[in-house]
Amino acid sequence: MIPTEFDYAAPESLDDALWLLGEGGEETRLLAGGHSLIPLMKLRVVVPTKLVDLRKVPGLDGMQREDGSWRIGAMTVHSELEHHPDLGLLSRAASTIADPQVRHCGTIGGSLAHGDPASDLPAVLLAAGGSVSAQGSGGPRTIEAADLFKDYMTTSVAPDEVITAVHVPALDGYGYGYQKFNRRAEDWAMVAVCALVYARDGVCEDVRVGLTHMASTPLRATAVEEALRGQPLYAGSIAEAAERAADATNPPGDLNATPAYKRHLARVLCQRALTEAAGLS
């Protein structure tokens, strides 16, 4: 519960942050809200020698609509997402993260960079087809959500890169549903399912389904999407499609949830999320 000794810097520009990151090597870590990193340091699972705090770096905040998508600064905290009137699914998902204290500290950039498959926002970004802007020694680049999550707590953001912003398609006209299953309100998702549905005349023209904690990374439930896309939207078609929610998943088990139970939950939650997204509940 007490971390090892480490140095700390709070640079005031992105360039300084990048320089500190490059100079420190592997053992240097960025610090955003600290609500994933600090607990791991206290358990001595992660042992950085230096933390580079992003809180004074300008340009990492704010939320703007740019054409068809939202640009969200990496240091935007969950509570800002939660209380934004126009973010739809992202707002809903953010409102289910832990408790108000965590939501006032944890950031969207930190959550995505951390790559915990039990976190709420990664699957939302994946389902919405978003991306992140990252800046490193090699200059700026864009990483599509589909390329971001590599393995358990492993992302394609390089150790010397900073996520500066997150881009989430606005998906105007889509209905959405979010179903998070946990034992206590403050817990991480045992399983969560997010759904986005675009319907016209009772037919599902587009559907995206994201799965949380059903593998070592967030997943798209492509089998569900394929089963429902182009179909009339009603309880029966949704139920049938949701039956495929656990296809091609590999959920990690623990004391409170075996893989079998998680697969069952994924199907139940998928049906509920789709029903919600289709406006049928």
Binding site: M1, I2, T4, F181, A185, E186, L255, A260, Y261, V268
Partner: protein, 794 residues
């Protein structure tokens, strides 16, 4: 003259009112001082090297790297402390039993027996440095086979925790009355179930902490404990110094729940190292350490058989408990299941009741008292079994209870287990509870929810428990075998200003007793509770006492205070009578003065009385100056609070998740001193039990590794997981003390787990599930539903 007679003859001004808690401003504004808030010049810090193995021989310990650090002053291992007088104590053994015990040293000697078993202590100049240095102490272990299942531990050829003992069986003990086999033979229906009360943690918000400061031949120890007087006594025995050379202080203590009713090895280690270095040393437990090595509770598996005649009359109840005691016997470890056995008959007139207990060693942390200590387990068994029986007989849960309640007229009632229940009105509390239920609305909502896949159920629990831990005559060395007396002491000092200081041997740590005590004193001396200060938890200022646990501090400690206050009031009356030339028996406390009966203007305030007592120009002939009194109080009997609880739960038929929709509790702890504080204790108690029923579980894997080592995995419920509690009371005075009060700190926990469990089973009956054990986690409920459907959970 008893304290009641000394109370004002008019209505009590303060007792019975929901005064805001005196302790809250300092707690809410962060001004309370816990052990970790304290420092002493020259303070050193300690960290403990703990075993990562559940069972192993210690091959070697290399402390050289740690010792080479500049910031390290001392490293001690078990071999360095062979001059300790004795192993850690087990102070209460069930009477007349042979106990197999293995020495439990503050630091392991040669062998570790559970994860977290302390192997070395590192003392240094910096709190952070000692944690790093502890990692540099290299311990080589040779793993031994591990045994975690208490039933398997009893089998022939099982891995032995303590090889020398030749068995993992610690003791066998039976308590009961009548003839259970004959009673069961007489029954028309016998129900048998295996009931599990799984392992839990006390998990107070403040972990433990110790500062030991040995100087000039005396030791001052600050410890986050419920029992500073025990700490003083046992440290004296361990260190071989006499008791009066030790001052033990429990400063603000952030909850205990039984986990701090213990004498811990860390207390010895800090004192020992401080004596060695002649420097003050601090150790603060981390949450991870607390989950590993603060004693756990429960962990009993019981085979229960309950028999009844067709009309619902219960003829016998037999319980065979296998109690997992962990690796060592700590302060009260073996007696915990015994405490439950006393009330195994619950609120019922069951002629034949017997509890057979087998205590077992395993490679886990010791179990000991956690809130309720034995009585939640027993209540859970009785109350779940009676519902199982009711369903077998086709009776309703309230009807079977009413059929078997000990009637109000029978009190004091000696029950089959040999104890005498002091007072009770079980019909009264159940009737009041049923009046609040609105069964029609329940049925309507149940039907409506069913359409949405939600299964609503209702469960009852009517409990009584045994608390107010005292009667030295009953529990002491020649009674039930506790190696001490169990009374309480109090001193009441009136200052010349008229302010009052009360010194209590109780050691409250969140129960609001500063306020309740002040209310009792204020009424008896005609002062505002604001001017009554309550000092406790310090063997230096309250030399005698036995601490706070077992719901004892109001009925034993409060009564002692009432009696000391009565003595002060007596003296005050004599002074007033003398000053006003009236007869002492005509002086009464009326409002804020001592006055002559019938002429309230003719009187003196307590400050005026104190002035006369401390400037003794005109005291009655022969009277000593001053105004303070001391009492020791040892009651005649325990007290037996009781109540009726109902839980209404909603189970999601697809996911198995349980939500508590309503919780209604009617409790009886005698006349309320402060109703708001009682509600608070009940709220916390119920939450604790909902935690056990639905969320919390200490779990070890087969290798003896603790799986639930943080608050992420050990799921304490929060306010979001519990409903608004609906509480009410009945007030049946106890004849055991003049206040008529019974304990309430554990009552909620004792009553509630069965209500929740019965409610979940009731909810699941339409799905074919007729019985389940805690913890009722979503997955376990889902698995039970699948199994009842005939499907095997894939």
């Amino acid at each position: 003259m008893t304290a009641t007679e000394a109370a004002p003859n008019g209505a009590a001004l303060h007792v019975g009112r929901s005064l805001k808690r005196k302790e809250d401003p300092r707690l809410i504004t962060g001004r309370a001082r816990y052990v970790d808030d304290m420092t002493v010049p020259g303070l050193l810090h300690a960290a403990i090297v703990r075993s990562p193995e559940a069972h192993a021989m210690i091959v070697s310990i290399d402390s050289s790297a740690a010792l080479a650090r500049e910031d390290v002053e001392l490293v001690l291992t078990g071999q360095d402390m062979t001059d300790l007088e004795s192993p850690l104590p087990c102070a209460w053994v069930p009477p007349g039993t042979e106990i197999a015990n293995a020495p439990h040293w503050a630091l392991a000697r040669g062998q570790v027996n559970h994860v977290g078993d302390p192997v070395a202590i590192v003392v240094g100049t910096d709190r952070y440095a000692v944690v790093d240095a502890a990692e540099e102490v290299l311990v080589e272990y040779e793993s031994l086979p591990v045994i975690v299942d208490p039933r398997a531990a009893l089998a022939d050829g099982a891995t032995l925790v303590h090889e020398d003992l030749g068995s993992n069986r610690v003791f066998e003990f039976s308590l009961g009355g009548g003839d259970v086999e004959a009673g069961l033979a007489e029954a028309d229906v016998v129900v048998q179930r295996e009931i599990v009360n799984h392992r839990t943690s006390g998990a107070p918000i403040e972990p433990r902490g110790v500062i030991a400061d040995f100087r000039a031949g005396s030791l001052t120890i600050h410890s986050s404990t419920q029992v500073p007087h025990f700490v003083r006594l046992f440290l004296a025995l361990q260190l071989g110094i006499s008791e009066e050379r030790i001052r033990a202080v429990a400063p603000e203590v952030g909850g205990g729940f039984g986990a701090k009713l213990q004498f811990y090895g860390e207390e010895v280690l800090l004192a020992y190292a401080s004596r060695r270095l002649q420097r003050p040393i601090k150790w603060i437990e981390t949450r991870s350490e607390h989950m590993q090595v603060a004693h756990h509770g429960r962990d009993q598996i019981a085979t229960c058989r309950m028999g009844a005649r067709q009309d619902g009359t219960i003829t016998a109840f037999h319980v065979q408990i296998t109690a997992d005691l962990g690796a060592y016997l700590m302060l009260l470890t073996p007696v915990i299941p015994v405490l439950g056995a006393f009330v195994m008959g619950g609120c019922y007139a069951i002629p034949n009741v017997r509890t057979d207990i087998t205590g077992v060693f395993t490679n886990k942390m010791s179990t000991d008292a956690i809130r309720g200590a034995g009585r939640p387990e027993a209540t859970h068994m009785v109350e779940v079994m009676i519902d199982q029986l009711a369903s077998e007989l086709g009776m309703s849960p309230p009807a079977i209870r009413r059929k078997n309640f000990i009637p109000k007229e029978s009190f004091p009632a000696e029950v089959a287990t040999g104890v005498v229940y002091d007072s009770g009105d079980y019909h009264g509390s159940l009737d009041k509870l049923m009046g609040k239920l609105d069964v029609e609305a329940f049925k309507r909502e149940q039907a409506e929810l069913r359409g949405r896949g939600i299964y609503r159920g209702i469960g009852l629990s009517t409990y009584t428990e045994i608390c107010g831990l005292a009667p030295s005559r009953i529990v002491g060395p020649s009674g039930l075998g506790l190696q001490t007396g169990l009374w309480e002491s109090a001193m009441v000092r009136v200052h010349i200003s008229g302010a009052v200081t009360v010194y209590s041997g109780a050691s409250p740590h969140g129960q609001g007793l500063d306020t309740s005590f002040a209310q009792i004193v204020a009424d008896r001396l005609g002062v505002d509770p604001e001017v009554v200060e309550v000092i406790h938890g310090d063997t230096g200022t309250g030399p005698q006492g036995l601490g706070t646990y077992g719901s004892r501090s109001l009925s034993v400690g409060g009564e002692a205070i009432a009696r000391a206050t009565a003595k002060v009031a007596e003296k005050a009356k004599a002074i007033v009578a003398h000053e006003l030339e009236a007869a002492a028996q005509d002086i009464e406390v009326s409002g804020d003065r001592f006055s002559v009966r019938g002429s309230p203007d003719h009187g003196m305030s307590l400050a005026e009385v104190a002035g006369a007592a401390y400037i003794p120009e005109n005291l009655p002939e022969g009277m000593e100056p001053g105004l303070e009194e001391t009492t020791f109080y040892d009651p005649e009997n325990f007290v037996f609070p009781f109540g009726a609880h109902a839980a209404i739960v909603d189970v999601d038929g697809e996911t198995g998740k349980v939500a508590v929709a309503r919780y209604i509790a009617v409790d009886d702890c005698g006349p309320a001193v402060n109703p708001m504080i009682i509600d608070g204790q009940i709220h916390g108690g119920i939450t604790h039990a909902i935690g056990q029923a639905l969320y919390e579980r200490v779990h070890y894997d087969d290798d003896g590794q603790l799986v639930t080592g943080t608050f992420v995995d050990y799921s304490l419920p929060s306010a979001a997981e519990v409903p608004m509690f609906e509480t009410d009371r009945t007030e049946t005075p106890s004849p055991s003390n003049s206040l008529g009060v019974k304990g309430v700190g554990e009552a909620g926990t004792i009553g509630a787990s069965a209500a929740v469990t019965n409610a979940v089973i009731d909810a699941l009956r339409p799905l074919g599930v007729t019985f389940m054990n805690m913890p009722l986690t979503p997955m376990r409920v889902w698995e039970a539903i699948e199994e009842a459907r005939g499907g095997v959970p894939a």
